[in-house]
């Protein structure tokens, strides 16, 4: 089988989605590790971001791959979605729902996450890299109008991350199925670990706007 044939077949596209999806989920863990410095304190967070900046070239390579993964994941997903819509005969009828809503809404939640990522890059990423205007990184996140200083940003962030968790709830089990992990001796450990990625890591992200956007102002 040639590589083009593999990547353009329906199963091949799904394998690509599963691999890029899992890599992005791993990246989320790394991203959260950095974010948690916000709770350590202003200096710790600023120092951490500064450290990342000093890596310079390496960070740009990593960013290139992240965009590549997001792009190919979304591209394959969209092509499959179109194919699936074509395969379905649309008639005025009804059928009983017998699957999980996380599975059925994966394309929708994925689209929302994509919009979130676009705003995420155009605000935090852009500010951090090119438009600090003398603010500290900590201030941009916790106080500025593109950060959790704005309740609208905080609410959108919370909703988007919750949907991302919901997306991963289906995505991670689905990737296990697509990569053939289901049915092997690794199935159990894979399923046990999946909750870290679809529940605990998104929860960690959500804690940040909940604390800095709302609770810290009330207490």
């Amino acid at each position: 089988m040639s590589i083009i044939k593999l990547l353009t077949s329906s199963v091949g596209r799904k394998i690509l989605m599963a691999i890029t999806g899992l890599l992005l989920a791993f990246f989320m863990a790394f991203h959260l590790f950095g974010n948690l410095f916000l709770f350590v304190g202003e200096d710790a967070f600023n120092a951490y971001v500064e450290k990342l900046h000093q890596l310079g070239f390496l960070i740009r390579i990593a960013e290139f791959f992240l965009v590549l993964f997001v792009g190919s994941h979304a591209y394959s997903g969209t092509l499959l979605w179109i194919k699936n819509r074509k395969a379905k005969k649309v008639v005025s009828s009804y059928s009983k729902v017998n699957t999980s809503s996380a599975a059925r809404s994966a394309a929708f939640t994925g689209s929302i996450v994509f919009i979130f990522l676009a705003t995420h890059w155009s605000t935090f990423w852009y500010k951090f890299n090119f438009d600090l205007q003398g603010m500290s990184y900590y201030y941009v996140v916790t106080e500025s109008s593109v950060g959790f200083g704005s309740p609208a940003v905080s609410i959108f962030y919370i909703i988007a991350i919750a949907l991302l968790g919901y997306h991963l709830k289906h995505g991670i089990t689905s990737a296990g199925q697509t990569l053939g992990i289901v049915g092997t001796k690794y199935e159990k450990i894979y399923n046990n670990l999946s909750a870290i990625f679809w529940f605990w890591i998104p929860l960690g992200f959500i804690l940040i706007p909940v604390w800095f956007g709302f609770l810290v102002r009330v207490i």
Partner: protein
């Protein structure tokens, strides 16, 4: 018992179908669903009306001919039951029952509730076979197969190819069907001769036939009259990954 049937009537795939209502009275609750349709058709013929076309053959739940949507579910409300094995006692007196054909672009409507499932045959003929020598039947015990593999292969081979999985799927994907056929043969020593080419060919045909892709929602297994499990799809994926890897390795060696 009395039932109100709403049946999808459609002359051919290019026609626009409509739902027509029929009422049947004094039906014995212990007759099968297809016998109830026979009664309806006898009535329609007597009235010089066009009888309802539906597929059926063995009426024992093993041939895979029958199958349509009953109240939005392939093969009706009873779990692990084909339409022919469904009885009127599964419904209540004065129930409204909606009958539609399996809906998928790859299953063109022949007439009414009967759909053309030749796309399944083409998936099978592209790889769902084994190569054997002609001549005398081989000694039955000459190939020993471990019990767990034999059992798993048997469960996969239970697929009757009725198409309920495609009808149940929101993407009209044929993955459960294809994966059951791939699993069945790849689990047994007799299926090894075609090796990993089988899965590549069958997936390629499945894509060409216009079926959707699997998004792992599991609707197919929930509605399958033979309870073919999701594990088959995982096995197909494993086979597919191994097939592409072995394809790359072969190319390198050449």
């Amino acid at each position: 018992m009395n039932v109100n049937l709403k049946i999808w009537r459609q002359g051919s795939d290019s026609d626009k179908g409509i739902l027509k209502t029929y009422r049947l009275e004094n039906i014995d609750p212990n007759i099968s669903f297809l016998e109830m349709l026979d009664i309806l058709n006898i009535k329609l013929v007597k009235e010089k009306k066009d009888p309802v076309t539906f597929d059926h053959d063995c009426r024992e739940g093993i041939c895979g001919s029958c199958g349509f949507m009953i109240n939005g579910r392939p093969h009706g409300p009873q779990k692990a039951t084909t339409v022919c094995q469904l009885h009127m006692r599964a419904f209540n007196n004065e129930d409204d029952i909606l009958l539609e054909p399996f809906r998928a672009e790859s299953f063109p409507v022949i007439k009414d509730l009967s759909v053309d499932r030749k796309s399944f045959d083409r998936i099978i003929s592209s790889g769902g076979y084994v190569s054997t020598n002609t001549g005398e039947a081989p000694e039955a015990n000459s190939i020993s197969i471990e019990k767990e593999y034999a059992d798993e292969a048997f469960l996969s081979s239970a697929c009757i190819g009725c198409g309920a999985c495609v009808a149940a799927c929101k993407n009209s994907s044929a993955m459960l069907f294809t994966s059951a056929k791939v699993s069945h043969l790849s689990l047994l020593p007799q299926g090894q001769k075609e090796g990993k080419d089988r899965v590549a060919k069958m997936v390629a045909t499945m894509d060409e036939e216009g079926f959707g892709s699997c998004t792992n929602t599991g609707a197919c297994s929930a509605e399958c009259p033979k309870e073919i499990g999701q594990i088959n799809i995982a096995r197909l994926n494993q086979e597919y990954i191994l097939s592409s890897l072995s394809g790359f390795l072969k190319k390198k060696n050449e």
